[in-house]
């Protein structure tokens, strides 16, 4: 569900007029809810906006996207010639903070800097204009809170005036109902997201009885490789899962481990092919119980893994190891790489 955020109630007036909004109990915030969206009046300034956003997002978990509507002043005189008076912001900066936050889908080229006080002096406007052409008072804090809670964020601004000594805050306030109608009209163009498709996908693809959290993470990395190879990753995984289950050789998380192995085989056929050759080689030489091939080692390497507690046993191991040849391994690898 969307959370619509406004600094002042008047800017949201049209939404109050056209929807049945009820006040939500949410700490100290002015939060409202309709069957279709939440609406927050966050107040003016970075601190107020931060506080109300954090309070809202930490309690209202069904919010999936945050949209901020508000007014901004332009900081450069040349912006007078920019035709759109309503635009989407691309990136949000703050006067006193290093981090910046980008809008989820912005095609715009306009960035906005959130100032700590109202921009009413030319010198102040000039200083801020080094970083962005637009200034407002709160969108950076709204963007930051959205980012912390991993919510999609978009921000739209109505360009009210050139921010300097000529700014009359009362004038801007008196136009709020006009802005509000524009915001309402523009919101109708954006369809709200209702489900978190990523989560649905994950739980459907990786049933928890077969996949631990760690296995899911590893499998997702491999899936990314498959997706980049333009392969249908979910089709491949369900096919592998079906095959592994049909073999009846694996149970519980063992199924997940086997699926991951097969996935790797699909994603990195060459590496897995080499690994198979090496395992086969170790078995032939009767070394598979003594040596383990370390596939994740930065250089190809083996680990001696066998217990002993007498000199005879040690000599027996050394005798077995004497048939091991690094040259043969190199040849196997060479063969594997050229296939």
């Amino acid at each position: 569900m969307d959370l619509l955020v406004f600094a002042h109630r008047l800017e949201a007036q049209c939404f109050f007029d056209k929807h049945h909004l009820t006040r939500e109990e949410c700490h100290f915030t002015e939060l409202y809810k309709s069957p279709h969206f939440y609406l927050l009046i966050c107040g003016e300034g970075l601190q107020k906006a931060s506080e109300s956003m954090i309070a809202t997002l930490s309690t209202q978990t069904e919010i999936s996207r945050v949209i901020n509507y508000g007014v901004a002043g332009f900081l450069k005189p040349e912006m007078f010639n920019v035709p759109p008076s309503f635009l989407e912001v691309r990136c949000h900066y703050s006067e006193n903070h290093f981090h910046s936050y980008q809008n989820a889908e912005a095609n715009s080229e306009f960035d906005c800097i959130s100032a700590h006080e109202r921009v009413l002096k030319k010198e102040y406007a000039k200083r801020l204009s080094l970083f962005a052409p637009l200034a407002d008072r709160e969108s950076w804090a709204i963007a930051r809170a959205s980012s912390l809670f991993k919510k999609d964020f978009r921000s739209f601004k109505y360009l009210s005036d050139f921010a300097d000594e000529s700014t009359d805050c009362e004038d801007i306030k008196s136009q709020s109902s006009v802005f509000s109608q524009i915001f309402y009209k523009e919101y109708q163009k954006i369809k709200p997201k209702t489900t978190d498709s990523q989560e649905v996908e994950t739980s459907e693809i990786f049933p928890s009885r077969y996949f631990s959290h760690g296995l899911i993470q590893q499998s997702q990395k491999v899936l990314l490789v498959l997706k980049n190879k333009k392969l249908n990753a979910s089709e491949i995984i369900s096919e592998i899962l079906e095959r592994v289950l049909a073999s009846k050789k694996f149970y519980g998380r063992g199924v997940g481990r086997e699926v991951l192995k097969e996935l790797k085989r699909a994603a990195f056929p060459q590496s897995m092919h080499i690994e198979d050759h090496i395992k086969e080689f170790l078995k032939e030489k009767n070394l598979h119980t003594i040596l383990r091939y370390l596939s994740n080692h930065p250089q190809h390497a083996f680990k001696i893994e066998t217990p002993f507690n007498t000199t005879e046993e040690l000599q027996d191991i050394l005798k077995k190891l004497s048939v091991f040849s690094c040259e043969e391994i190199d040849a196997l690898i060479e063969k594997g790489l050229s296939q």
Partner: protein, 334 residues
Amino acid sequence: MKFSQVFVEKKIEKNPLTHKVLKKLQNPNYTVIDSYEDVFQKKKKPYLHKRTSLQLFLAEKKGELIKKAPPAYGMSDQENHYYFIHSYNCIFECEYCYLQGHFNSPDIVLFLNHQEIITAISKKLANTPEKTWFHAGEFSDSLALNHLTQEWSLYFDCFSKYPHGILELRTKSANIAHLLKLKPLKNAMVTFSLSPEKQVQSYDHQTSPLKARIIAMEKLQNHGHPLGVHFDPLIITENFEQEISALFKMMEKHLSLTSISYYSLGVVRFTPEVFRSFQKNYPDSSILSSPLQKSFDGKIRYPYLLRKFLLEKIEEKLCKNYDVDKSKIYWCME
């Protein structure tokens, strides 16, 4: 090249080189600032904003003007390797570029106090009798904006006095007009990063096309400038061997490969921070579908065997098919 905003440091506003650059930019509107550091990297600016709103800073380099290069940087660890910084960031956009995770802004900073940098180089060379390399292009492309700055004549003058000092200008640009006006020096090398054509088209956005780079190399070679080649980064593809063969054939048609001073080979690699930025900036890049993994030094690169395979294949082809002396080939950062 159109910059969205130009900043000039107050102390170099009257510098003739500043005027020269501003004149060439045909952009009389600029903002005077005390120090480029007051704006550059002051806020984290998304890397891909370079596509639409790239800012330019004309500034003075402070602090260390020459820096010791990391191990395995150059041809031989026995020789001294330094790099100097004449600019930050690049107008090109290579998907694997480490600059996307290095600076907190993609904006370009051109340092114009070349005389000071040259004095630092001269001082080092006067006190070091051994062969000593100075690499340009650690944080930028050496030639991409050379039509604006034209600084290399000053460096050539310096290196002509120190034959044991070697200057390396590293580039992916065919912007060589200025270099063709300079008298070649045996110890001033122009080195080009080359990759198979398909790779250049897929990953090296805004750079000079492969053929343009090779033709630029041909012109420089004919003019007498020593050349070097970086096959870096090597990226595995299904037709790696055919693509490399095609690249070598194209090079052979225009260049004397045995006259190239050295070949440096390197396989694609990322520090963890750069890799995170790369994943974010280019989520659909096919580089992500190659078998990258965390390596012994924490960097993300191919498994050792695959790296060895790629490096040996190139080395073998250069030596066997093109009579390149093996001593001219080195593996970079391996």
